[in-house]
């Protein structure tokens, strides 16, 4: 493992951006590890959440934004609830996703593809059309066998709607997304 030069890996702008956007003071973290201890998804992470926090304190932008962990966070708020320093860790993770998306860095493409499919559905219909989301996801990823095993379980229950439930204010929702994109590109 290489020696890390703390001075050269430190990106102060990044630290400030995370603090500003999340409203959380990263210096409050004293590395007790409670967020990691309680994280249900820690087993799947490449960098444990407390180490994400430590890397943030060190200003290691690449390390954090290139991690898979930030995409696997389930937003369950265990970390936030148990943090002895009242840091809303889940919100920090959210903000890291925002910054990573803005910079086009996504280490878990499947996750964002699914989310994008979800939002595309909302944009189009105003409400989510579940079958449509899965179909879109399958189309984009090519994972045609996704949950095929569940089909016989769910099909007879008559729950999956064959058609989207459009709303009257569909255009209004589309405008929200449009303005969001305009703001973003500005």
């Amino acid at each position: 493992m290489d020696v890390t030069n703390l001075e050269s890996v430190r990106d102060d702008d990044f630290i400030h951006a995370v603090m500003e956007e999340s409203g959380q003071d990263l210096t409050h973290c004293y590395q007790c590890g409670n967020c990691t201890a309680g994280c249900p998804c820690g087993f799947a992470y490449d960098i444990q959440v407390s180490q994400i926090m430590r890397n943030l304190q060190a200003g290691r932008k690449d390390k954090v934004l290139n991690s898979r962990s930030i995409w696997l966070c389930l937003s369950c708020s265990s970390c936030t609830t148990r943090c002895p320093n009242n840091i809303d860790v889940a919100r920090v993770m959210d903000v890291l996703r925002h910054i990573a998306r803005r910079e086009g860095r996504v280490a878990e493409k499947g996750v964002t593809t699914f989310w994008d499919a979800f939002l595309a559905s909302v944009r189009r219909h105003g409400r989510v059309y579940e079958l449509g989301v899965v179909a879109n996801y399958v189309a984009r990823t090519g994972r045609v066998w996704t949950d095929i095993d569940l089909l016989p379980r769910i099909a007879p229950k008559g729950k999956l709607s064959p058609m989207p439930h459009g709303i009257k204010g569909r255009d209004e929702i589309a405008r929200i997304f449009q303005r969001y994109e305009e703001e973003r590109t500005r």
């Binding site: 249900p40 799947a44 937003s75 609830t81 699914f114 409400r127 729950k159 929200i176 973003r184």
Partner: protein, 330 residues
């Protein structure tokens, strides 16, 4: 108090039975639900993971709609919707955030300053209707039914936004189920995450986390898991065939929405509660409950018989002794 109702998108699909049972149970309890006119999706996790203002705008449109309809409170059955609506409202106190959201919406930003309060249907039932009132209306107690109450991870957390029940050990659903006559088993994973929406993209995560929950319910001797969240229900029920059971021992564990059990206890016909739409056959749980009741009755009968026999023996003894005395004297 005017209560607006926000059903949430999954109520139109995978959680139809939650939606149906919620409406049926509320009707039985006299809670009037007024749907927010032309409600739209809150954006769920995909939106807040992309950008907070976008998420805020998608939520706010619905809250503004509720306010325009003259409602001061919005109730929603889905914790994910709840979390988004509540968080949006919470953050709207910040002027900068409000302005940012305002720029995305058709509605003027000043409409965002005073948004209606948001609560879960569970909160509505336990705080507005009250357990005593519910208890009084129970027609068909859930006797013998052992249930593991599973609240899901975001119903009560983060505590400063959600402001309902204990964030680590909530008890409102326990109390409700107890009021319905069910037996609540100690369940340590009330608020542990089930894997959320990662079922499609990372099945391994859901398999492991939901497996742990189902295993704990199994080990605690539960006949069923009771949930308040469409996503949790889907992971635990539909995906039950996908999970990793701790110790490898799979069982059939029915997973109810709490509103289904509430409706059943209140005497709402099963057909209105969508019980047939659950994947794991709910009859399994009711059968087990019936066995418990039967065993208990047999036990009681045996006890009663034993006590009666003892009493009879005692009486006979006394009689004999008396007779002996008599005889002696004679």
């Amino acid at each position: 108090m005017n209560l607006a109702y926000y059903p949430g998108c999954s109520g139109l699909g995978t959680s139809r039975e939650y939606e149906r049972s919620t409406r049926a149970a509320c009707a039985a309890l006299g809670v009037k639900l007024t749907d927010i006119p032309d409600w739209s999706c809150c954006g769920s996790t995909p939106a807040h993971a992309l950008e907070h203002a976008l998420s805020g705008a998608l939520s706010a449109r619905n809250l503004v709609g509720a306010a325009r309809a003259g409602c001061d409170t919005v109730a929603t059955p889905c914790p994910s919707c709840l979390s988004n609506l509540k968080t949006a409202r919470h953050r709207m106190a910040d002027d900068g955030f409000r302005a940012k959201v305002g720029r995305l919406l058709d509605q003027p930003a000043d409409a965002l300053a005073a948004l209606p309060d948001v609560q879960s249907v569970l909160e509505t039932l336990v705080t507005r209707v009250g357990l005593d009132a519910i208890r009084a209306k129970v027609r068909q107690p859930l006797a013998g039914l052992r249930v593991a109450p599973y609240y899901g991870c975001i119903m009560t957390r983060p505590a400063d936004v959600m402001r309902f029940d204990d964030p680590e050990n909530p008890t409102s659903m326990d109390d409700l189920l107890t009021a319905l006559g069910a037996e609540v088993v100690p369940f340590p994973y009330k608020v542990e995450c089930c894997g959320a929406s990662y079922g499609v993209t990372r099945r391994d995560i859901v398999a492991r986390l939901s497996g742990r929950l189902l295993g704990a319910a199994r080990d605690a001797g539960a006949h069923a898991v009771v949930v308040a969240c469409p996503l949790c229900q889907m992971n635990l029920d539909l995906r039950q065939t996908q999970v990793e059971w701790p110790g490898g021992k799979a069982v059939d564990m029915p997973v109810f929405y709490f509103t289904q059990l509430l409706g059943r206890a209140l005497g709402v016909p099963d057909a209105e509660l969508g019980l047939e739409q659950l994947c794991v056959d709910p009859a399994i749980a009711f059968r087990r409950a019936a066995q418990v009741v039967a065993a208990r009755q047999a036990e009681e009968a045996a006890q009663a018989a034993k006590a009666a026999a003892q009493a009879a023996a005692k009486a006979a003894q006394a009689k004999q002794a008396a007779a002996a005395n008599e005889g002696g004297r004679a």
